[in-house]
């Protein structure tokens, strides 16, 4: 192929991404240093004022703390469950294909639908209440409305939603690990922990990095399922930065703050992306 043909094939993608992804991103970044808003006629450069205002905001700080807790709990849990379930699917057995498809179920529901669903399932018509009724316990209130419990309920939902997907995505990597190696280590009596570290993880590494990055990015942008479950409440206990940004931009019409808080999320994602680029070895691509 000639260089011209190479560029020609890249052209449609560029035509799609330049106006609909790169330009809004760059323009958004630039506008976050001004008081730009759609209806505004005059533009003033305000420097870091939007960022300062966002960072000083009590709700936003709480949102950042929340998302930090969510990331630190859900991502390792999703990867752990993902690897464990993928590993148990390594050997062929009847119904394995079915289990593999069932793993996709929570992901087939939109985050919005998952939010609506768990909003009800945590409540009086859900499994918890039914169980409590069987045990003759008094009616349990929905944890989503209980201060101190709402974030835990949101975290449980997020794990329910994404751990099976992680498992689905990690399965090809687990299957690629030569089973003789694993059996050999097991016959030798190598304990499970070191077997995982020595046999399973090295070949799984590139795929694990890829899935981790996608999970991290998705989790830092968490908002639609929370929007439907709690709307960020009670108080601001389950507020996330993306939800805050969404509310500021599309409900309060406070564009500069919305954009600035969105870019603070990017500021959290980009170092992770760069770390990924640095960690992935040339042979891993």
């Amino acid at each position: 192929m000639t260089p011209r043909q190479h560029l020609l094939l890249l052209l449609p993608l560029a035509a799609l991404l330049l106006p609909f992804l790169f330009w809004p991103a760059v323009f958004g970044l630039a506008s976050s240093f001004t008081d730009y808003a759609p209806a505004e006629r005059h533009l003033h450069v305000v420097g870091l004022q939007n960022y300062a205002a966002t960072l000083e905001n009590e709700d936003f700080r709480l949102a950042f703390r929340n998302v930090l807790v969510i990331v630190l709990v859900t991502v390792p849990a999703e990867l752990g469950v993902g690897v464990a379930v993928a590993y148990s699917l390594r050997d062929r057995f009847r119904g394995r294909g079915l289990v593999r498809i069932i793993l996709l179920v929570p992901w087939l529901l939109s985050p919005i639908a998952v939010g609506v669903m768990w909003h009800f399932l945590y409540g009086s018509v859900g499994m918890l209440s039914y169980l409590a009724a069987w045990l003759r316990l008094p009616a349990v209130p929905s944890p989503l409305a209980l201060p101190g419990w709402a974030l835990a309920a949101v975290i449980a939902t997020e794990i329910w939603r994404k751990a099976p997907l992680a498992s689905f995505l990690l399965l090809p990597g687990v299957l690629a690990v030569p089973s003789e190696q694993w059996e050999h280590a097991m016959l030798e009596g190598v304990p499970l922990g070191s077997r995982i570290r020595q046999v399973l993880l090295p070949p799984l590494r590139p795929l694990l990095f890829t899935v981790t990055l996608l999970l991290l990015g998705d989790t830092l942008g968490t908002f639609d399922s929370v929007l439907m479950m709690t709307g960020g409440g009670p108080g601001s206990e389950t507020l996330t930065p993306a939800l805050y940004s969404f509310q500021q931009a599309f409900k309060a019409y406070n564009w500069p703050i919305g954009v600035a808080s969105a870019w603070l999320i990017v500021a959290a994602v980009l170092p992770l992306g760069l770390a990924y680029l640095a960690l992935v070895r040339p042979g891993d691509a």
């Binding site: 330009w23 958004g28 609506v116 795929l207 990015g217 709307g231």
Partner: protein, 287 residues
């Protein structure tokens, strides 16, 4: 077979039971909430008023009829979602396939960073640029239009598609392409007759996954829509807000309806999906 460590057989058995428990537990955790929801959509709900707790009977399909009328314009919303998702998926897969092929057959320094960069781009939350995007589409009169929402949705998932398809294209042996080229076939011919069939399973699996992502996308359609291009997640979010006390059967019916098309698609495509991999390796079927 090497020397067996003591207690090997017991360990093996423990291992098997551990696996059964883990898989059984996972399948239950994944399916029970869904079955609960589908039952509720048919008006079969737990009745905790008496002991032992029972279920409300008889089942009825009334909620489905209600949803069609209660959520404003639900049939239209379903149609919009379907056409929009198909269009956006075709745009994503088309542009990503061409670009990924170009990258896979191009040698230049720093190519690895470019390819991995697409993954980094895919991990960027859409929230980062959606606010200026809604402003931009308004200025070019694409806001609340079919074309605007389809193009913007396609752009969200194009980086991920480039990354995945690049992985598949890397696995295609180049010998076939070279033979075709020596026989005088042009670029278009090589791509459509040689390359596309070779990666067809990977291409199809990626398309199915991108379709599901589009079907479930909320942020871009809601930011770019006022009235006309309401997709299912947008309509659900308008109607079932957490502030309102809503009827569970009604919501469950809407959820079931929103799941049905993608569930059917995934069941039909399960053989292709089983071989899907984010980063295919040589020798793997479907690569």
């Amino acid at each position: 077979m090497g020397r067996r460590a003591p207690g090997w057989r017991a360990q093996q058995r423990k291992h098997l039971w551990g696996r059964r428990a883990l898989l059984g537990g996972s399948v239950l955790a994944l399916t029970v909430p869904l079955i609960w929801t589908v039952l509720a959509s048919l008006a079969i709900k737990p009745d905790t008023g008496a002991w032992p707790p029972g279920w409300t009977f008889p089942p009825s399909a009334g909620s489905y009829v209600e949803v069609m009328n209660a959520v404003p314009g639900f049939p239209r919303v379903l149609a919009t979602s379907l056409v929009l998702s198909i269009t956006a998926t075709l745009l994503t897969i088309g542009t990503a396939f061409l670009a990924a092929y170009s990258l896979a057959r191009w040698r230049f320094r720093g190519k690895r960073v470019v390819v991995q960069g697409f993954l980094v781009l895919a991990s960027l939350p859409a929230m980062a640029y959606v606010i200026p995007l809604s402003d931009f589409t308004r200025e070019v009169h694409l806001r609340d239009t079919f074309a605007g929402v389809a193009l913007a949705s396609a752009a969200v998932f194009a980086p991920l598609a480039v990354y995945v398809l690049y992985g598949y294209l890397e696995q295609v042996p180049r010998a076939l392409e070279e033979v075709a080229r020596l026989e005088g076939a042009g670029l278009y011919h090589v791509m459509s007759r040689v390359v596309a069939p070779a990666v067809a399973p990977g291409l199809a699996a990626t398309a199915v996954l991108v379709f599901v992502l589009n079907w479930n996308l909320f942020l871009v359609p809601t930011a770019l829509t006022l009235r006309h291009m309401r997709t299912i997640p947008v309509a659900l979010s308008d109607f079932y807000t957490y502030e309102r006390e809503l009827e569970w059967s009604n919501a469950a019916a809407a959820l079931t309806l929103s799941l049905l098309p993608v569930a059917v698609l995934v069941v039909l495509a399960h053989r292709i999906l089983e071989r899907f991999s984010l980063s295919p390796t040589p020798g793997e079927p479907g690569g």
